[in-house]
Subunit: 440 residues, 2 copies
């Protein structure tokens, strides 16, 4: 068999890259659990009809079918394209067994049959954080999820050396109320066009608003002025008010942004800003919306987004409002690992290679390894009783820092060797696990 080639859009890591991913996922999971979010996993497939309800995205769906399907296979199945639709289904299916507000996180792969391009993947890992109520869900939860996500991003920044993030906070009510107050009939159409500001600039957006929606100069000016508002503190309130538009939904939106921004920026000053251009494409958001970028790596796009949906799911009797945030793990790591920004100090978990003197003394080496492992020190025993120089090279190639010989241990980076007892020896704390390396 010839060497297989990668499949475009399906990234895979070498072991060192996978270590970076494991560490990032550990941080996300442990942070979510500290905040009382329970882990949920859903199956990879949903019924096709469930996935095509939203209409627009059906061409990106991967259908799944038995190679020799029979007519008796009634369910048409497809791979989920996000974790929100499966979670909404899970909530409805299990509502009698869940306690609301239900707090969960979910780390899984999703699949989209997109034409692959920079930053778009056909298979990608996401971490979703959601809080779902039955009937109602208080606004303070809209501040709670950014606090979880920013705490995780802060740990990635501090402990692993990833870039810091900036979360942008918008609100559907604020934008819709503002446009309604301007006398515009279809606020969604405006949002959609203002969303292109980064791509086509203010002149381009002005032209669209004028030509396609028939907005007058004053309306266009106001829409662009709103979109330009960006502030890390409550000064945005005065800026909006100064635009002279009055509308009850607008007031409600301003109050919601103020409340979320105050609560989050008190804990993470400078990491969150009101940014009134943010609307997000998906039409189920009804209030707060979030977008997040890696500072200095804005070109890779939003690495975490989400918002409030007044009806994540409904079974006729009950409606389940929710607020959710997705962290795009593959979106972050595939480029940063791929370009060599992030890596690991070694390609194996082992902190120690236990050398083997001769094959008939292998049990003694195994015994050293057992004693080290019993105290949480990852190690492996040399596969062959080669010359010591060769065994040291075996460790060196993998980045294993220590080699154990008989009753002594050698730090192969410094050459320093000391007598040691496998029942008590401890490596420096920084060497116990592989370290994550960052180079910018």
């Amino acid at each position: 068999m010839a060497r297989p080639k990668p499949i475009s859009g399906f990234p895979e890591f070498l072991p060192a890259g996978r270590m970076v991913e494991q560490r990032v996922l550990d941080i996300i999971s442990s942070t979510a659990e500290l905040h009382g979010l329970a882990s949920v996993e859903t199956r990879a497939v949903e019924r096709l009809e469930q996935l095509t309800r939203k209409g627009e995205i059906d061409k990106e769906i991967y259908v799944v079918r038995r190679l020799h399907a029979e007519s008796s296979d009634v369910d048409e199945l497809a791979l989920h394209f996000d974790l929100t639709v499966p979670f909404a289904r899970y909530v409805l299916e299990n509502s009698g067994h869940l306690h609301f507000p239900f707090r969960r996180y979910q780390v899984q792969k999703s699949w989209r049959g997109e034409r692959p391009q920079e930053g778009r993947y056909r298979e990608f890992t996401q971490a979703d954080l959601d809080i779902v109520g039955s009937g109602t869900l208080a606004l303070h939860h809209d501040a709670e999820l950014p606090l979880v996500a920013l705490e995780a991003f802060e740990r990635m920044h501090r402990d692993l050396g990833l870039p810091p993030v900036l979360m942008r906070l918008g609100n559907r009510k604020l934008a819709q109320g503002f446009y309604a107050g301007l006398g515009i009939d279809d606020p969604a159409a405006v949002l959609q066009r203002v969303d292109k500001l980064d791509k086509i600039g203010p002149d381009g957006v002005s032209a669209l608003l004028r030509d396609q929606l028939g907005m007058d100069d004053a309306q266009v000016r106001a829409a662009l002025a709103l979109a330009r508002i960006h502030s890390t503190d409550l000064s945005f309130v005065d800026e909006v008010t100064a635009l002279g538009v009055r509308n009850p939904l607008l007031e409600e939106g301003i109050a919601e942004v103020s409340s979320v921004l105050s609560a989050v920026s008190a804990q993470f000053p400078g990491r969150i800003a009101a940014d009134l251009r943010i609307a997000r494409g998906l039409d189920y958001y009804t209030g707060t919306v979030y977008e997040t970028e890696l500072v200095g790596f804005e070109s890779i796009g939003s690495v975490s987004g989400g918002g409030r949906y007044d009806a994540l799911a409904s079974d006729g009797k009950n409606t389940y409002p929710g607020v959710g945030l997705t962290i795009g793990v593959t979106r972050i790591l595939a480029p940063l690992v791929g370009r060599g920004h992030l890596g690991a100090t070694r390609s194996v978990p082992s902190c120690v290679l236990v050398a083997v003197d001769a094959e008939d003394t292998r049990p003694a080496a195994d015994d050293v390894a057992r004693q080290l492992r019993a105290r949480g020190i990852a190690c492996e025993v040399a596969p062959k009783a080669d010359k010591y120089g060769k065994q040291i090279r075996h460790a060196d190639r993998r980045g294993i820092p220590f080699v154990w010989f008989g009753d002594s241990v050698k730090d192969i980076r410094t050459g320093e060797q000391q007598e040691a007892d496998p029942g008590t020896w401890e490596p420096p704390v920084g060497d116990l696990r592989p370290g994550i390396t960052a180079a910018w």
Copy 2:
């Protein structure tokens, strides 16, 4: 939307069941890493031609296709049905970047389009442990993987209350050599029929061997006698020798089983036995083979199996021999959680619910939560400033053991309340994380 129904063969856990699974996966991953196995994840899909090479299983394959596929989509993709085929492909694809012997573990889902039945799943999680060499791979690795797997099973037994296991050890060379020594041309055909011993009994197997393979009485007696040999120590050697068959491959097989059995049973006495009936269906095994059952739950089938393959992969220039063991996580947990044998003491990670006195004092409750989390104590803040009785019921329904009120904390199981400082208070160590409950 009506309440969705589960899809047969695609098990999902409620949060408490998922906690059991998380804990089992933690044990497997951390044990594998202590032994220097690196984590690998491969994409969910392979090229269809890669998956259908073995021929027999193609009807169980799930093909994946874009809903609106175009003729320009050249790669036909399918979901992997195990983790061995993707791993063999990963080794070939990345051989220039890996160091051999390469030690990896891989925890992922696989998919098979089977007709669902007890113990068969269409989506299931497996944990694979493999060591792969380039050109050669020493026999001592055949003992290494059972040591890793049994250490993980032992921790599941001791720490989570799962049943103990019995691993059965066989060897293809031993069986093939024995049958060849008996003068039988097609040892594989014998193995296949002897494998049915549990299902159809010795009389049924005798009939098959006589009628289908034309074996004479002495040959049938010898084959059945070999299949009956089961010993936790080296006494199997004398039992085989007593059958009077002589063959070089048989001798080699006996030596291999002896070596693996001695090394493993020295660490885990009673947990491994030579069982010369074990052959395993897959035709790529060439030496050692393993099967493992949960003691008392033999009816759920083999929960861990694998073996030695002299050619896991080959690219023409190089051959990569390997030894591997799979732990069937879904195979173990779907029935044990589903029948209520395993569960968790609470359905949320939170150890503490911080009560809220009135909505305007919520920031004080948030601050308590922050101090607890900073010291690794998972908690959540009450979603609503309800009466205290209602907040306690909120905790109780989720199994959260502690409720924090102002400057005191109450164990709601005992009713005991004490003054406490969120900067120093520690819960009993057994309450910090959800406990796993076992009931047999």
